[in-house]
């Protein structure tokens, strides 16, 4: 159930020019399912809306977010200092469920919800990015790194990686998060191959808690609220 949580910055780790990890102390235990997200705010009235971020990691009352700077909101978050206050609304959404022995795939920033999920379920994990990034050891988990240009790990995109790694003797399905085009392709791919799939979607959100209907998305002939009935959809 989503709650109003007043946390404090424990650590703000800058990974490179536009990526950082925000560690937030929430001072108590909160029940968080892998794949859930929080609406976050650390400013007064402007920007008007809170910003949604997936849980990247969580233990000992510290929630971690892996964030890419895009605009004003993420810029403000990137500048937060230790002990500064931060407002969290969540955890929201359904999260990944029953995905023991699934292959986990995070493309780009899609690694954020995948990381916590693969930690909880102890999953083999692919991290696919365009090019080498300087912060490859930012998570406690180990990833199979794939880059489009081959500057780190193996050369290829996330689909190439899945084709190489997915083994129906070991894996029971795939969980994935990443750019919409990749997810669309993956949905088709898994349907053809009859592979159970859970994907986490993004949509613009005003409330993140089911109040406003701004996050409605048509999936499998139904219109769902990504913030409540998603962000994870099972295929």
């Amino acid at each position: 159930m989503a709650e109003r949580i007043f946390g404090k910055i424990k650590e703000n780790v800058r990974l490179d020019i536009d990526h950082f990890i925000l560690k937030v102390d929430v001072f108590r235990h909160i029940e968080i399912k892998p794949g859930q997200f929080f609406m976050i705010r650390a400013w007064e009235d402007i920007p008007v809306l809170n910003r949604p971020f997936s849980v990247f990691d969580y233990k000992d009352n510290i929630i971690q977010f892996f964030i890419k700077i895009k605009g004003k909101g993420t810029e403000l978050l990137s500048k937060l200092k230790i002990d500064e206050e931060i407002f969290l609304l969540g955890p929201s959404g359904n999260g990944f469920q029953n995905c023991e022995n699934y292959l986990a795939v995070g493309a780009g920033m899609g690694i954020a919800p995948i990381n916590y999920t693969s930690t909880i379920f102890n999953l083999e994990t692919i991290y696919a990015v365009n090019t080498h990034v300087s912060y490859m050891n930012f998570s406690d988990s180990e990833f199979n790194v794939w880059t489009l240009d081959g500057t780190s790990g193996e050369k290829g995109n996330a689909i190439d990686a899945i084709k190489k790694f997915y083994n129906n003797k070991i894996h029971k399905g795939i969980i994935a998060c990443g750019p919409e085009k990749f997810l669309e392709y993956l949905i088709k791919f898994c349907k053809e191959k009859n592979i159970p799939l859970q994907v986490s979607f993004e949509e613009k959100m005003a409330c993140g808690t089911g109040l406003c209907m701004s996050c409605a998305k048509k999936v499998k002939d139904d219109i769902i609220k990504i913030c409540q009935d998603g962000p994870v959809v099972r295929y």
């Binding site: 109003r4 008007v48 609304l89 808690t209 406003c212 701004s214 996050c215």
Partner: protein, 297 residues
């Protein structure tokens, strides 16, 4: 506490015999069907809940993106996604029994007949205390021009609903018009028990990076802090000419903003976009109003 017209402001305002325990309500479309807010505060701590705009038949709403942001507010084009009045009554309204606050249904239609049919259905629904008529909707019979921009149409719409319902009728005015007082007066003449000032302003945003409109629907409704001065002006102008109560809404982010609306002529206020910042805001503002009430002249 007195308003700028020298009139005493009532802490527990009344509309057609229905009492509001304090002057703080939620705004339609920003609090779901009220049920969703129960996780964040006791619904009984505020004067009333205005539910998501409801239509006669279920509606899917517009394509996404339905929301875009600018410095000072948001633009939405939800397109009235809702389960229809009967869907609400069957599936949602039982969850609102015993919530100990006033429940106000916000209705939208394509024709006067649709509004009337909804009033008829609502008449027998005990959970609903008041009806708020959203007149910003396009009037299909008049080529899609909003009902709320023509005073004769508003008179016809409101008097036809008045003929059907004994529940308090609140008319929610659109600001997308030259002189809002003309429409307000016609609603009053047709038998409205109160008006809500104001619905969203028409607007759009363009996303340079995408090289496309920010909203799939192109046009949306502007809300949030940026519209507060215009909303205050609309309340003030209406207060000069109306005898019925005015509910102020538009850009109220905190207790101080709420007070400004009461000062310039509103009897109650609705909290909209501020609920996205913190879903407990309606209750927080209500608590502050209660605590600070005696401190202002």
């Amino acid at each position: 506490m007195k308003n700028v017209f020298g009139k005493e402001i009532c802490f527990s305002p009344e509309i057609k015999g229905i009492k509001f325990k304090n002057p703080i309500l939620t705004a339609s479309g920003t609090c779901g069907f009220g049920v969703e807010l129960k996780d964040f505060f006791e619904l009984s701590s505020i004067g009333g809940i205005v539910l998501k705009g409801t239509t006669l038949l279920p509606k899917d709403g517009n394509e996404c993106p339905r929301i875009a942001e600018f410095n000072g507010g948001i633009v939405n084009s939800i397109g009235l996604q809702n389960p229809g009045i009967n869907g609400f009554i069957n599936d949602i309204s039982p969850k609102l029994y015993n919530c100990n606050t006033n429940i106000i249904t916000n209705i939208s239609g394509n024709t006067i007949d649709e509004y009337q049919q909804m009033c008829e259905i609502i008449e027998n629904e005990k959970v609903i205390d008041c009806i708020e008529i959203n007149i910003s909707c396009p009037n299909v019979k008049m080529g899609g021009i909003s009902f709320g921009t023509d005073s004769n149409t508003v008179f016809e719409l409101v008097s036809n609903c008045r003929a059907i319902t004994s529940k308090p009728l609140i008319v929610k005015l659109t600001p997308n018009i030259t002189d809002i007082t003309k429409i307000a007066l016609s609603a009053q003449k047709a038998g409205a028990d109160a008006v809500t000032c104001i619905n969203t302003f028409k607007g759009l945003l363009f996303d340079i990076e995408k090289n496309d409109f920010s909203l799939k629907n192109i046009v949306g409704g502007v809300s949030g802090p940026a519209i507060k001065p215009m909303a205050l002006f609309a309340v003030y102008e209406c207060a000069k000419v109306l005898d019925i109560p005015i509910i102020g809404v538009g850009g109220i982010m905190n207790f101080n903003d709420a007070l400004e609306f009461l000062k310039v002529g509103a009897s109650a206020v609705q909290i909209g976009t501020a609920t996205f910042k913190d879903p407990a805001n309606p209750a927080i503002i209500a608590r502050l109003i209660e605590r600070e009430w005696g401190k202002y002249d």
